[in-house]
């Protein structure tokens, strides 16, 4: 297997109320091409910070050490457009301040005040205040640095925060295709319609012209997924993408992600608090706690033969349909 991204000694620190809080502590992790990797953890484990770091969406106030090295564009992928089209505001993708994407980090990174901060970066997440990390043009060639929206697709928990409420769904998807694939508007709209069919949105023709508020939560998440894969990204990052959905819709969206990842040969980074859900989807699972990588292994090994007590505790805490009823343990059953 080829390494897609190599994360080395990644430490991310946030300043909060005058004190520094390390959200990630010295993480080293390889994401392989074609990987279906789940990042599992509870609140404060650093799993979302890892996603934002990989995506280059960390807020400017975050202090970053370590490196994320990419090898995908050197391995036969198509070259990026020589000139990036202008990106108009207000849809879920990063607008880089130049043709260089701000993804790779300086080994001993300094806070990035010197970097012009895009007001749009981070918009997709709906929960970071925006801003991009510093770039490192001397360490990697520009062609080897991935670009958010084109090379990396994002799906976050709240589709309403990812979509522009006053722009039709079709335009939001077409814009991604136009921006990153250099299509004309008619071509981009045709592409958007195909994408809406691929994500199985009912009645794609009318969905093209629908506004986000006219769709249900599950339908909105399908539209977000269509936009996320519009430019044919190599890496799809889903950060709690199904956590706000009910169980039935969650299962549908997970099945959709699985199918799209297989069909398009994407690498998937699936971030979740739900170890059972992750186990249904992922081939490998990385367990995070308090900003540290506790355990990494195949799904079968993590679920069937975990080596760390914390992983076992997480598995034991899962209340499945076959769990011993707590009611009987409490001697309460009527």
């Amino acid at each position: 297997m080829t390494v897609l991204a190599s994360i080395r000694d990644l430490t991310v620190t946030y300043r909060r109320d005058g004190s520094e809080v390390a959200a990630l502590k010295g993480i080293s992790l390889d994401i392989m091409v074609g990987d279906c990797l789940a990042i599992i953890g509870e609140s404060g484990s650093g799993k979302s910070t890892l996603a934002l770091a990989i995506a280059g969406l960390l807020p400017a106030s975050a202090r970053i050490k370590g490196s994320v090295a990419w090898s995908w564009l050197s391995s036969g992928a198509e070259a990026p457009p020589s000139v990036l089209p202008d990106i108009s505001p207000a849809r879920g993708e990063i607008a880089p301040s130049s043709a260089l994407s701000p993804i790779t980090y300086i080994a001993e990174g300094e806070p990035s005040e010197k970097q012009p901060i895009s007001p749009l970066a981070g918009e997709m997440s709906g929960r970071t205040e925006g801003g991009v990390t510093e770039r490192q043009p001397f360490k990697s060639e520009p062609s080897k640095i991935p670009l958010g929206g084109r090379d990396i697709g994002f799906i976050f928990q709240d589709p309403s925060a990812s979509l522009d409420p006053v722009m039709p769904i079709g335009k939001q998807i077409a814009e991604v295709a136009r921006t990153h694939l250099g299509l004309s508007w008619p071509q981009a709209y045709a592409k958007a319609k195909t994408l809406l069919e691929r994500v199985r949105l009912p009645d794609p023709d009318s969905a093209l012209h629908a506004f986000p508020h006219q769709l249900s939560g599950g339908q909105k998440q399908r539209a977000v997924i269509a936009a996320a894969i519009a430019a044919g990204p190599k890496l799809l990052i889903a950060d709690e993408a199904t956590s706000a959905l009910d169980t039935i819709v969650q299962a549908e969206i997970v099945a959709l992600i699985r199918r799209l990842v297989t069909e398009d040969g994407m690498t998937l980074l699936f971030i979740s608090h739900d170890i059972a859900l992750a186990a249904e989807l992922a081939e490998r699972i990385a367990v995070f706690r308090h900003g540290q990588l506790v355990e990494l292994g195949t799904t079968a090994q993590i679920v069937g033969a975990p080596t760390q007590a914390y992983t076992r505790a997480l598995l034991d805490a899962h209340i499945g349909l076959d769990a011993e009823p707590l009611l009987n343990q409490a001697g309460l059953h009527a």
Binding site: D246, T262, T299, A317, G320, A323, P325, A330, A334
Partner: protein, 258 residues
């Protein structure tokens, strides 16, 4: 006891039956779960039972009284017996209030304890839900999510309720904390014979803690019965769909992408 409850919403010229002719009873000390997909009417029923909204039809009898006929004074008095815990305690509390203030309010408002006695009662409530009394002076926003939900439970039991509506009360908690909170709720139920109306989308949790379950679909009861019987062998289409969609953790068989 709830009979023939109906609540309609009008949206875009169309009338939607959010809750359509729903009847059920909850016995003292019993947990009745309401489960179903988004929009099935779970939370609307919770709000109707709490009389936060009024039904378009149907009746609610609570502790022998016609709950819907109660005037505001009688309703306030009765509300002490009927409490609620929601998914997000931060949204339910004034974030700047202290833990002590949050627990002092119901004791004062319902005249349960004198001013001199209340600090001791607050400390006892905190200990009852597994928290240190030292937490009392802390602000709500300073404590962890699990601690906050314990405070919400302490506030709910402060007025000695016979029924607590738990609307996705453990859904936002980390799994390690969730188990502890469920144990606490079951312990309180055993000690105080509190009944729970337990609203959840998580059938695994419902199966683990509820005596009976009602599966809702589009505002109607699709299926009801013993929680384990229903979930182990659902008969309704929505029951089968909910069970099929629940993530499974098979710890003995190797898993992976099919």
């Amino acid at each position: 006891m709830v009979s023939n409850l109906t609540r309609r919403y009008r949206r875009g010229g169309k009338t939607i039956n959010a809750v359509d002719d729903v009847s059920f009873t909850i016995e003292p000390g019993e947990t009745l779960a309401l489960a179903g997909p988004s929009g099935s009417g779970k939370s609307t029923i919770a709000r109707l039972v709490l009389r936060l909204i009024e039904p378009d039809a149907g009746g609610i009898e609570f502790e022998g009284n016609d709950f819907l006929a109660l005037g505001s004074a009688a309703l306030r008095a009765q509300r002490a017996r009927l409490q609620m815990v929601f998914q997000d305690p931060l949204a339910a509390f004034n974030p700047r209030a202290t833990v002590a203030r949050v627990l002092d309010d119901p004791l004062r408002i319902h005249g349960i304890a004198s001013r001199a006695e209340r600090p001791r009662r607050v400390a006892a409530l905190l200990e009852r839900v597994g928290l240190s009394a030292d937490l009392a002076p802390r602000a709500i926003h300073e404590i962890s999510g699990g601690q906050r939900q314990r405070v919400a439970i302490a506030r709910a039991i402060a007025t000695k309720p016979s029924l607590i509506v738990l609307d996705e009360a453990v859904s936002a908690l980390d799994v390690s904390v969730r188990g502890q909170i469920l144990e606490l709720l079951l312990d309180l139920q055993r000690q105080e014979r509190i009944a729970y109306l337990f609203i959840s989308h998580d059938l695994g949790v419902v199966r683990a803690v509820a005596h009976r379950v009602i599966l809702l679909d589009a505002g109607r009861i699709a299926e009801s019965g013993d929680a384990r019987d229903v979930i182990d062998a659902p008969q309704s289409a929505i029951g089968k769909a909910l069970v099929a969609a629940a993530p499974r953790l098979n710890r003995t068989r190797s898993l992976g992408r099919p």
